[in-house]
């Protein structure tokens, strides 16, 4: 009873514990799979193979992970500033509007080398602008940012449907989607890119946006921990009074943090629209914004952690789809259950195995 809690070794804390958490989640998933009459071991095998078993499935896993990296980073940057940005979904969506408008306006006149960077900038700018309004409301009017960002998700959705149905719909199209982008405005797929180097992989939606996501991760890491602004941002997140004392303008910093967050969320649009759909479509944000919250927290707000967590969630998404494909008893909702459990165990119940691990390492140490 009176044993002092020994801090766990670093590698256990950062490396082993998340694995134990995921394992616990899968244990429970296995139980449910057993209950609905499928073979848990077989399911696990299919899930893993489905996620990383072939170059195609790896491509899909990485493609999903790209989205999760963007939204995870978005949530993390705001979180470090003490702001809970629940609006990644809407920011990604409006980022897509910016992306689409830019490409539709430019792709027939400019070469891809110009259109693509401009479209990426437009995604970021629109995402940032959509985040800037709640940020402004928080900074100047004191409106609760959790609520305003949730509201902005709904408003973004309404705005997009209006734009798609009434303005941007391609003439003669039956469905609310814009005309296709010119081929020059497409972010090259990874398959094509690797082909340049003579490497052949199966086709998948994976495209060079992944590199943008990784670059963004590195950028966020440098920004947060290696620049004075990042320092000021984190100071504000931990202790606004100290930030004020240190000369940080809290209002401006709130704007900066949220705009950065929104711009990162806009990355989803780059991956989805420029990389995959090559046109503006509805609902491409498909919940990535929300899962981003779990990704950010599971990755402990650190870009490296976020990339790893994003890979896990990408693998779950892809492996889960394959699983549902292969096993008739396992439906896509079962995959949703699996995701919920993984988020629960590796996000909210992270401390669950701590006492056991502590006991284990206390005995050893």
């Amino acid at each position: 009873m009176s044993t002092a809690p020994r801090p766990l070794p670093g590698w256990v804390e950062i490396g082993l514990m998340p694995l134990v958490n995921v394992a616990l989640a899968f244990l429970l998933v296995g139980l449910i799979v057993e209950l609905i009459g499928a073979d848990p071991l077989q399911a696990l095998k299919l899930l893993v193979l489905g996620a990383v078993g072939s170059s195609e499935s790896i491509g899909y896993t990485l493609y999903y992970a790209t989205n999760f990296i963007f939204t995870g980073l978005a949530v993390a940057v705001a979180f470090h500033a003490g702001l809970f940005n629940i609006g990644g979904e809407g920011q990604a969506y409006i980022g897509g509007l910016g992306c689409g408008l830019a490409v539709l306006a430019l792709d027939r006149y400019l070469p891809g080398l110009l259109t693509i960077p401009l479209a990426i900038l437009a995604s970021a700018a629109f995402g940032a602008a959509w985040a800037a309004i709640p940020a402004w409301m928080q900074a100047w009017r004191g409106s609760h940012i959790v609520i305003t960002t949730i509201m902005f998700n709904f408003v973004a959705s309404a705005l997009m449907v209006y734009m798609m149905v009434n303005v941007l719909i391609a003439p003669g199209s039956m469905t609310p989607q814009s005309r296709g982008f010119e081929a020059s405005a497409a972010v090259p797929s990874m398959q094509a890119a690797l082909q340049w180097f003579g490497i052949a992989v199966a086709r998948s939606p994976l495209n060079l946006s992944l590199l943008l996501a990784l670059l963004s991760s590195a950028g966020v890491w440098i920004f947060l921990w290696h620049t004075p602004w990042g320092y000021g941002l984190r100071t504000m997140g931990h202790n606004p009074e100290a930030a004020l004392y240190a000369g940080t303008n809290l209002k401006r910093m709130t704007m900066l943090a949220m705009c950065l967050s929104g711009a990162l969320a806009g990355g989803v649009a780059v991956n989805e629209l420029l990389g995959v759909h090559h046109r503006l479509v509805l609902d491409f944000a498909a919940g990535y914004g929300f899962t981003g919250i779990a990704v950010a927290l599971m990755g402990r707000g650190h870009p490296l952690g976020i990339v790893l967590a994003a890979l896990l969630f990408g693998a779950l998404q892809q492996g889960g789809a394959e699983l549902a494909f292969e096993v008739p008893a396992i439906t896509r909702e079962m995959v949703v259950v699996i995701q919920g459990l993984v988020i629960l165990f590796s996000g909210a119940l992270v401390h669950l195995p701590r006492p056991w691990l502590q006991a284990l390492f206390a005995r050893k140490g």
């Binding site: 899909y60 493609y63 709904f154 959705s157 309404a158 997009m160 449907v161 209006y162 149905v165 719909i169 003439p171 199209s173 039956m174 469905t175 609310p176 998948s204 939606p205 995959v276 759909h277 046109r279 479509v281 609902d283 491409f284 498909a286 789809a321 549902a324 494909f325 439906t331 896509r332 995959v335 949703v336």
Partner: protein
């Protein structure tokens, strides 16, 4: 002797139990399964990128024919169909012009026209409601045909239109559907047409609770509330799916575009024991006459999607 076929279905993101066209396809597939004892592989994607993935996976495994449900799959299907020219694809609700693709589209406006006439004739208040899911062109096609039918039967009748929401959740929100319907009833509506997927269940339930009349959509929903269901606008996706499989089994599968309207029995209105008391012989006669006129081309029902407007 025909070779055993390996059919497959890729549903749209609404899922196979959407009380709408996915479910229709599923019913067609079930019927085929039961009759032939041939297994039908199926997949419910949870996002749009999985369309292409699923279609390709089925094609790689030699599943043939493959039915893709929903307009949203057109882009993905076009890509995959080019890669697998020997596999037969059937696309429902949209058109892809490839030799190995059979595109099935429906003239929902014609069916909606007929149920619009019935609504106008059954309404005592002259106010009729329409509740759609999301405000997208397809839903407006239903609404536009419905409106033309109403005006045809009663030029003075008034149509009140509501859409449920702006996210895909709008197809799955019976509570809001019920509220929308009640809002229309409060304004005097006594017949409501539900073209909103699962949201429709709430709409029809509200009609039942308030003693009003509801009109179902896609499949025959008359059995839901006998006595309170005026009729249902049938969109025979089940037949489309079933026929496609049967044709493949008989080695008679053909590519090309099939436009299924009243003439092809692709759309229709439902009359069965659950609503026969509500349809007077006079109503039936008028609707049958209009149906014949449409089939013969005497009446042309304007298609919203032809010019993205309800005016021709």
């Amino acid at each position: 002797q025909t070779a055993p076929i390996k059919p497959a279905v890729v549903f749209s993101t609404g899922g196979k139990f959407d009380k709408s066209f996915n479910e229709g396809v599923w019913q067609g597939a079930e019927r085929f399964k039961k009759e032939t004892n041939i297994a039908v592989a199926e997949f419910e994607p949870s996002n749009e990128t999985q369309f292409e993935q699923a279609l390709r996976r089925f094609a790689q495994r030699g599943q043939d024919p493959i039915i893709a449900v929903g307009f949203a799959q057109a882009v993905a299907l076009e890509k995959v169909a080019k890669e697998f020219p020997n596999i037969h694809f059937t696309l429902i609700d949209s058109v892809v012009n490839l030799p190995n693709v059979q595109s099935v589209v429906f003239k929902e406006q014609e069916g909606s026209f007929l149920v619009g006439m019935l609504a106008a004739m059954a309404s005592k208040t002259g106010k009729i409601g329409f509740v759609g899911g999301m405000d997208i062109p397809l839903v407006r096609r239903f609404q536009c045909g419905f409106e033309q039918g109403i005006k045809y039967a009663n030029p003075n009748a008034e149509l009140i239109t509501n859409m449920t929401g702006t996210t895909p959740a709008a197809w799955n929100d019976p509570g809001r559907g019920a509220e929308l319907a009640k809002g229309q009833f409060d304004r005097g509506v006594d017949v409501v047409y539900a073209a909103a997927g699962s949201t429709g269940l709430g709409i029809l339930q509200a009609a039942k609770d308030r003693g009003k009349l509801g009109i179902g959509v896609d499949s025959n929903q008359n059995h839901l509330h006998p006595g309170n269901m005026l009729t249902s606008m049938l969109k025979r996706v089940d037949l489309a799916a079933y026929d496609s499989f049967k044709a493949a089994q008989a080695n008679q599968w053909k590519g090309g575009v099939q436009v299924l309207g009243l003439k092809e029995a692709g759309v229709d209105w439902a009359l069965d024991k659950d609503n026969e008391k509500l349809i007077t012989p006079e109503m039936k006669a008028k609707v049958d006459a209009a149906k014949a006129a449409i089939i013969s081309g005497q009446i042309v029902v304007h298609d919203y999607m032809s010019n993205n407007s309800c005016k021709s």
